[in-house]
Symmetry: C2
Subunit: 357 residues, 2 copies
Amino acid sequence: MSTLRLDLPGGGYPIHIGSGVLGSADLLRAPVSGDRVAIVTNEVVAPLYLARLTEALAPFDPAVVILPDGETQKALGTIDRVVGAFLEARCDRATTIFALGGGVVGDIAGFAAAVYQRGVPFVQVPTTLLSQVDSSVGGKTGVNHALGKNMIGCFYQPKAVIIDTATLATLPDRELSAGLAEVIKYGAIGNRTFLEWLEQNMEALLRRDPGALAYAIETSCRDKARVVMADEREAGVRALLNFGHTFGHAIEGAMGYGRWLHGEAVAAGMLMAARLSERLGWLAAGEGERLRALIQRARLPLAPPAIAPQRFLELMAVDKKATRGRTRFVLLRALGDAFLTDDVPEEALMALLNAGA
Amino acid sequence: MSTLRLDLPGGGYPIHIGSGVLGSADLLRAPVSGDRVAIVTNEVVAPLYLARLTEALAPFDPAVVILPDGETQKALGTIDRVVGAFLEARCDRATTIFALGGGVVGDIAGFAAAVYQRGVPFVQVPTTLLSQVDSSVGGKTGVNHALGKNMIGCFYQPKAVIIDTATLATLPDRELSAGLAEVIKYGAIGNRTFLEWLEQNMEALLRRDPGALAYAIETSCRDKARVVMADEREAGVRALLNFGHTFGHAIEGAMGYGRWLHGEAVAAGMLMAARLSERLGWLAAGEGERLRALIQRARLPLAPPAIAPQRFLELMAVDKKATRGRTRFVLLRALGDAFLTDDVPEEALMALLNAGA
């Protein structure tokens, strides 16, 4: 097992990464400060891992909330139901909430913890590759609005992140690939060495080689923690983590949340951003092709679905990354060297969208 | 005009108190850091004061959200609607939200600001006595859940509180009295000198003498700011501000939110807490009688409505102030000397409730 730390002015926390850590009662009980816990999970994860977690937390007699599966659960209506369940279980301000599941469960449980009685402690126990390398670290929580993804939420940091890499054994292939999109992202935006490692080890990752997965998760979490420590509230450098996400969120919005997995939309979005970088003369053509090849080997989509360019623009304009009416983009100067700009000529964008990206 | 400051580790803010400050464009524009603003208000306040605020903020072309009136608006469904209105008006992360209205508007707008795109700046412009002396200061925001009042929310501080005492001219008598309940609270829990001043000036306050109102608001805000500065997250002393509220919230819950005004329920709750303090031997009988006389002169209820004792206990048990299964109470040793305890024998509580409090 390895442990990273994410330190912030408001208090840091450990990120434990290892195979089988879900069986470690000591590790799971360490972040509990009060004498009550509640677990939020979903109907897919519960049959697989809930018993192990409840057993480890048995002395606290955990309350359990089991949600339906899927991105459509990320809505205020779910927060209302989760809070209702906490109240019925008599959870008080000293109750620690455990999020057991993927990114959707973590976002919902984290936001519920942030707003329940104006904030109770919570712990992330991510069980998908995407949540292990990205969403469980850094304190972004929230739900969607009908008019935009992740429009309602808080920055609210967990007390610990506990990553059991053994849970990836039960992850569907499609979700493994979706998680790899965010792994590739870390390489593309700021870690060329890691990108080269991924080029050499993609097959090992796809066949779920434990050592390769552990290294990819640890490197991703370390890169993410470094960025979050430098800029918790996304006033600057943290925005680079949104590489591929402005396009990706528009894809998710156009298709209806959940039809494309988040990682799939990000993969197509990263390639759109790379092509835009090429069109604007920032990125050499061979670099974009190299990213494309890696994403293809990860079995991820290489182009967005058919969306009318005007609709695509509207969906991007409502994205959070738009400030003062201008959409901000994360573009590439090279693989491993991303930058932020709101100075993208409309014509270049339209040409990209008209070309079917 | 007078200005107090509330300083906190995460950044302080001014509290401006004066007659006619709603006409001061400089004062209202000072806390705006970006180039966009949105105003959240309701259908009762809008016809009275919205034009003045939009005029002062005209250069920012404010988006406006007008809610129906009433405590029933404090629900997640309203947050969904407000966020939708922000999105339709293309409000970005640099938009400053103004809350124009009473405590309900301030709680909703503040919570919407706290969670919109994970937090945008906001300014409190309270127009009722209750919100001017209490809810606009200190950063408590949130909405109700069907199972409990203020169960969903955040600590989220405004960038400024701008209190125009002239708005009290249009306040209904019943709401003026409700606000006086919280004013009396400050005297009862920690400021005996102020309580004596209230005994001497209650008639001036009821006939809305501007000097008396300004003094009462300023003293209340100063007392509240001092407590919040010492304990922003209610880990200790801030809980004293809940004097009368454990009983009061149960009254509101039993009657359905909005049937009793919050201040009315707090008034009856303060007297229940005083009687409980007497029963337990903490408070001399004459002191409770003195509080009763003051509350009566403020034209506030002296006893709760008929609620079965068992139901009362259940409603109190779900209150946020309950920790580890025990309900915490704010009791009095004397007028001006409150303390916190979770050691109230069930028999004393039942005797109080059976006596019709």
